[in-house]
């Protein structure tokens, strides 16, 4: 419990140690600490940015999905419309074709009837002439009586 020159020596050692720490220990450690703090701050900022980007992308995806769904609906509607239009057109065409066919058939049938009637009439006229020949037992001059026959034919109509 005495005071002696140790006091002075200790004082000098005290400042030498403090000087050494100030020169060689403190700056690199504080620098490393600050750098790490900056790194962490940057990392956190990047994470925040990534999160925001992700949210934005998700929003975009939802929007795109909605758009796609909408356009698919449009496509379907227009396809259905087109299909029904096609069906309608086809039905109308078919109706027209059937009508035309029927008309043509009727026309054909009418013509055939006419032809048959005419042929029948001719034959009846021939038969009548032949019958008359037989009755008269003589040849009828077809040319002479052509007018007569024509009249007969006319009457048979």
């Amino acid at each position: 419990m005495n005071l002696n020159a140790t006091l002075i020596a200790q004082l000098v050692v005290f400042f030498i140690l403090a000087w050494f720490t100030m020169k060689f220990v403190w700056p690199p450690i504080v620098k490393a600490l600050d750098e790490r703090a900056n790194k962490i701050a940057d990392g956190l900022a990047a994470a925040d940015k990534a999160k925001a980007d992700l949210a934005l992308a998700e929003k975009k995806v939802v929007e795109e999905l909605r758009k796609a769904r909408e356009s698919a609906g449009d496509v379907r509607t227009s396809a259905e419309k087109q299909a029904s239009q096609l069906i309608d057109e086809a039905r109308a065409e078919a109706g027209r074709i059937i009508a035309a066919a029927r008309e043509a058939a009727e026309h054909e049938a009418g013509a055939a009837t006419q032809r048959a009637k005419e042929a029948l009439r001719d034959q009846v006229a021939h038969l009548a002439v032949a019958g008359a020949e037989k009755i008269l037992r003589r040849e009828i001059d077809a040319k002479v009586h052509a007018k007569l026959l024509a009249n007969l034919k006319q009457e048979l109509q």
Binding site: L17, P28, R36
Partner: protein, 283 residues
């Protein structure tokens, strides 16, 4: 420790352990004697001081901003703790460039010097006695105290260093005129009648700060060391009671002392910062 023929008495044992190894070879006789220097205190404080800055330098050398190792981690925790305290107490970034490293050094250095208290009280002194006797000396005069902070000269040396820092920053921050003005006008105010009282108060404040700063550390460590010596005396009775008492009391005191050595190192560091911080403030 033992003179030839008879074992030391309890009183001889305690006095032997509390006597410094100095350049005179015997215990200092006067209270203050500037021709004497304690070799043991100087040896342990310089060796431990070198160890302190070496350990810190080891961490600083490989300090990276990447993932720190465990050793770098503990040093960084210390640096961060000291830097935070310094920032809160010393409001000058320029002064902190020296004061904060100083506080860190003081904390680790004093902690390690205090921690010498946890070594068995007879371990290093007994080795020294062996060496001294082998060199032909009388082991009764082979004094050795391993706890440098239990030397009043050493702790007052450090607190005087803090006082010098305070004076330096007082003059640097306030200028010689400003500081002298403050010495005579604070704390009671500017009036010619109050000048001597103010000045006396200021001087008392500086002396009290410095003496209590050094004395607090010295007192705690000296008392701790003395109790370890007494506990060792208990064991030296070589009875069952003495043995159990030594083991139990020694364990309890050592565990409690871990708190004290850390706390005293922390208090010394904090007071260093506080006193330097006060030197920056104008009254």
């Amino acid at each position: 420790m033992a003179t030839e023929g008879h074992a030391p008495t309890a009183s001889e044992y305690v006095i032997h352990h509390l006597t410094h190894l100095n350049n005179t070879g015997h215990a200092q006789e006067n209270i203050i004697d500037w021709s004497v220097i304690n070799l043991d205190s100087m040896f342990y404080s310089v060796v431990i001081g070198a160890l302190t800055v070496f350990l810190l330098w080891l961490a600083a050398r490989k300090a990276t901003s990447g993932v720190p190792g465990r050793f770098q981690g503990i040093v960084e925790i210390l640096v961060d703790m000291v830097a935070d305290q310094a920032k809160g107490i010393v409001h000058s970034a320029e002064s902190r460039r020296f004061v904060a490293p100083l506080a860190l050094t003081v904390f680790v250095w004093i902690f390690l010097m205090n921690a010498m208290d946890l070594l068995p009280v007879d371990l290093l002194p007994r080795i020294w006695e062996g060496m001294y006797a082998a060199g032909g000396g009388d082991p009764a005069h082979a004094y050795m105290r391993v706890v440098a902070t239990a030397d009043l000269s050493a702790t007052l040396g450090m607190s005087t260093g803090v006082l010098l820092l305070c004076l330096y920053y007082n003059i640097k921050i306030k200028g010689v005129g400003g500081w002298v003005h403050e010495l005579f006008t604070a704390p009671f105010g500017s009036h010619p009648l109050l000048y001597p009282i103010n000045f006396a108060m200021q001087i008392i404040e500086f002396v009290a700060k410095t003496v209590s700063h050094g004395m607090r550390l010295f007192g705690n460590m000296y008392a701790g060391e003395l109790i370890f010596i007494l506990i060792a005396l208990l064991g030296s009775t070589a009875t069952v009671f003495g043995f159990l008492g030594h083991v139990i009391a020694g364990s309890i005191w050592a565990i409690f002392h871990i708190l004290i050595i850390t706390l005293q190192a922390f208090i010394f560091m904090m007071l260093t910062l506080v006193y330097v911080g006060q030197a920056h403030e104008s009254h």
